[in-house]
Symmetry: C2
Subunit: 192 residues, 2 copies
DNA sequence: CTCGTATTATTACCAGGTATTAATTAAGAT
DNA sequence: ATCTTAATTAATACCTGGTAATAATACGAG
């Protein structure tokens, strides 16, 4: 079997290809060919073997993620998926940890996502035109990792006028990973 | 001069076109033509008049926004731009409020962005392989609005072993909008 | 030298366009 | 009823960045 040894092996080249597209998914086959010192057909064969789609598909995948994200943050105004809610009382939301939410090196979920999930769940519990967070006291108990599914539970513990006190508890499996106490304030649009 | 009045005027159609692409930027001219009941060339002329680029350009624009965003959250590992830092001591970061960060109705910055800015600044102050947030106590003092520029100041107030205590203060102009006290923990990769 | 893999080249085809020119349609004015 | 003019549709050549398939070539090991 003729395993060619040129400047680089096929394996090395394919690893470089993956790394290049990881760093910049908007590279054409022609650009990749030049970068890796091989012909365009070779790049195409490599992509085929590695199951990497063409530029336009890659671009669209990235765009759709973003579009899905800003819509769920913009319209739903919630981080995580609301799976159960009883307005004014309690609620549950689920957040699946995606690669763009973690620290590069450790694959640990960046803390503010846990905060955001709990905070937006707390806000969702209150039925008013505008609900703002006033204060929060939170504890990060255990690191959450890529692909973990975080379930946040929240319930209203007290109310004083337009201020609500909400406690949250986020878990991965049976482990508590985050606890929070939030004070949120309900306002009407005209008193801003 | 013959101003045609068919089912809809040119103006109406163009408004619908804008609305359609606003809701879903991934529509081809052919799909748009069918939706609006005109021919493909008409859609092209409309896009030309309105300065709307073709599908593949639109897709790429959306994708690049996302990519820019996840990279600034993923590699920089910081929300907001670090403008000044003295590792282990103090730092300053600036965050400009973009449309995707605010509540739709009120244009008020969603609270967790302020948290994220302060939290990631706090983490950036500590020089260790891995830095995790342990707890936080925060207060949201004033609503921050679209296009505001939030400047977060952080400084280390105390240290106990691998735990650091950091206080932050975020301002828009001369107004305090957010204050936080964070406990962050420095770890080495091997003790995870 | 020959076998087998890797690589490169070539060709036909596709989607979703740009850009241009020409033909057709519809409605108001005269 | 016909003229005028904007709006619309049609037709054509060309572009990028591919897919898919087939053939030609390079090269190293046995």
């Amino acid at each position: 079997m003729g395993a060619l040894k040129r400047n680089q092996t096929k394996y090395e080249r394919q690893q470089k290809l993956i790394a290049s597209l990881d760093e910049n998914p908007f590279l054409t086959d022609e650009e990749l060919a030049e970068m890796l010192g091989v012909s365009v057909p070779t790049i195409r064969l490599d992509r085929l073997e590695l199951g990497i789609p063409e530029l336009r598909v890659r671009t669209k995948e990235v765009a759709e993620q973003f579009y899905g994200k800003i819509r769920s943050l913009g319209t739903g105004e919630l981080i995580g998926d609301l799976v159960d809610i009883e307005i004014g009382n309690r609620g549950v939301s689920v957040l699946e940890v995606r690669p763009d939410m973690v620290f590069g090196k450790t694959k640990i979920l960046r803390g503010h996502y846990l905060f955001a999930q709990a905070n937006s769940l707390a806000v969702a519990l209150i039925n008013a035109e505008v609900v703002l967070t006033g204060r929060a006291e939170v504890r990060f108990l255990k690191p959450v990792l890529l692909r973990d599914k975080v379930i946040a539970y929240a319930h209203v513990t007290n109310r004083k006028g337009s201020s609500y006190f909400i406690e949250t508890n986020s878990r991965v499996g049976n482990t508590d990973v985050f606890k929070g106490k939030f004070t949120v304030i309900a306002k009407e649009l005209n008193d801003l």
